[in-house]
Subunit: 360 residues, 2 copies
């Protein structure tokens, strides 16, 4: 394919093979993201239907019942296997440290799993989750990896459109405290539920994982600096953070993340013969613009995405359904997510020990 | 001033007070930069004239004689004081490790100094230079600090246009080996002449120093990763580099630099309420675009610069002349440059020791 072909296909699905079919999903955890983003995305999807809502009480679960989403159960009922014949797969979107028990329950019931990122709160718990869920398909919900523009970036890099990749810049920032006042997201500030921290775990993982995907490379070593200043962040080390990652192809990523910054995200890959930029990104803003600046000129392109997160999540759910219904392997899988967990652990260790840390 | 006022003034000089006058300059070191950028910039300047050319032989120096530039002498003759009545100040643009002897000679002759960055090859030599030149005005040629757009960025940050600064991203890359084949710049690959390395010293210093200037903050601690892969870079540690800097206002900078990358540079300041971007920058490309993205919308602006480096260097020379002829203090001065030298030393130490290093 020529560069122009890639650019022309930047809004296209490159994976759809199902002609028809429906994957029925239990929605485990009904926070803002599930209610405002995931359920509407499934309603727009071709191959998914949300059928079961799982929350701490039946009343909470019943709040989202509408359309195909007919059954409301509690976490305890879900773990016990109630309504298991009403869903084929589960979408887990609880605080990080609750992913393991619900993934284990889903595996017990023989259901495929789409688990939000990061896969768990710590690397150790993540390994347990992957082992526990070995018997069922497990995909981790890195929504950037099914974003058509990000997939074209990866192909452009592999095709040499920017020569050899040299450095990556990535940032994701938002005002968490503003969001917290509107929704019960305080768990991100509680290490028991969030894991190593509040910001690299939640936001820094976007430039980290998207760089991995676009470069098709894995982290080798990291450095990091981070600090918290507001009282609300007193239990986590990373209200603001900066980190560098060396990848196994020699590329360096310079990344930042902040839970108290202007809402924005960007990703840039600089190579020996050009650069690719995706901006704004990570936060679902529209239009997300993919720009290729090559030695021979400049190409700018918009995709057609106009809904906040909506289209991106729809891509992810449909991709998951396409794979599960055709009984094909899913990607990114649990092993892929474990590399991020080792990298996240190394980033927090680097900041705490003031040292460069290898990603074992 | 309102944001609009700043943006309207983005091409204006904010320092000019001279009505007339001419500062006569000896050009010490006649490499590509002096011949192709500095001398033409001085020809376009209002308050400067190049009068004396200094190089390793009279023949080399005579190559640039034209117009007001009438006298060609050797480094030895310059040190001995020859033609000292034909210039008021010196512009030093030699390999880094030659700045000290020529600055010392200029101070001996009682001449003001405009010294290229980095001020010297090592922090120790830089301190000697500053001490040796105490008796004369010493300005370090950070051309971004007299760039009108960069000066407006600094004012916008100080005025709260992006809230509190949170993170900075900066990158500068070029293909040094391509440049080397056209000019005798191999000294950048020789630690005896270049100092700590080839890339952070030469390129990384741009995002580092420009961030310092725009934030009006100084570095506290750094992390770094770097490596060389090509044979040409075997004596220096940093063909490619990534580093983070924490500033004394809490802001983090995530920076990269490469001597083997697509020619490009960018600088971005993300704050709690908006962000400022300057791109392309550092490499004299036109138009250099300053963009303010604030909570209330987006403003884009071009400056009028169309000559490669030309206008930027003219600003710097005229600013220097305005200050020297009016006998006002210059900025950035030697003490300012010493902070960069300590930071550069810390960045190379961080990479070598795999540790976070404080900037003492």
């Amino acid at each position: 394919m020529t560069v122009d072909d890639y650019l022309r296909s930047a809004r296209d699905r490159d994976w759809e093979q199902l002609e028809s079919g429906t994957l029925r999903l239990a929605m485990v955890g009904l926070g803002w993201w599930t209610r405002e983003q995931a359920i509407p995305a499934i309603e727009s999807s071709e191959f998914c239907a949300a059928t079961v809502a799982v929350s701490s009480t039946r009343e909470k679960a019943a709040d989202v019942v509408a359309g195909t989403l007919e059954t409301a159960i509690t976490y305890e009922e879900f773990v016990a296997g109630r309504a298991a014949d009403e869903y084929d797969a589960v979408y887990i979107c609880t605080p990080n440290a609750r992913h393991l028990p619900y993934a284990a329950a889903a595996a017990d019931h023989g259901k495929a799993i789409l688990c939000e990122k990061p896969i768990e709160a710590t690397h150790e718990r993540a390994e347990k989750l992957v082992t526990t869920a070995e018997s069922v398909p497990l995909m981790v919900a890195y929504r950037m990896q099914t974003d058509p523009q990000v997939r074209r970036m990866r192909e452009l890099v592999a095709d040499g459109a920017i020569g050899e990749p040299v450095v990556v810049h990535g940032h994701m920032g938002q005002q968490l405290l503003d969001a917290v006042s509107e929704s019960p997201d305080q768990w991100r500030l509680d290490p028991e539920l969030a894991g190593y921290g509040a910001t690299v775990m939640d936001l820094g993982i976007y430039p980290l994982n998207t760089a991995r995907f676009v470069l098709d490379a894995d982290p080798v070593s990291v450095t990091a600096q981070m600090h918290s200043e507001n009282e609300a962040f007193r239990n986590v080390p990373d209200q603001h953070a900066a980190f560098t990652v060396q990848f196994d192809d020699g590329t360096y990523a310079a990344c930042t993340a902040s839970q108290q910054a202007h809402r924005s995200g960007h990703l840039r890959i600089v190579g020996t013969e050009g650069e690719l930029q995706l901006e704004p990104t990570f936060l679902g803003e529209s239009p997300q613009r993919l720009r290729l600046r090559a030695l021979d000129g400049r190409v700018a392109m918009d995709d057609g995405r106009r809904e906040l997160f909506g289209d991106e999540m729809t891509e992810e759910f449909d991709y998951f359904a396409d794979r599960i219904l055709r009984e094909e392997p899913v990607s990114p899988d649990g092993e892929h997510a474990l590399v991020d967990m080792r990298t996240l652990a190394a980033i927090y260790e680097a900041a705490e020990t003031d040292g460069t840390v290898s990603v074992a």
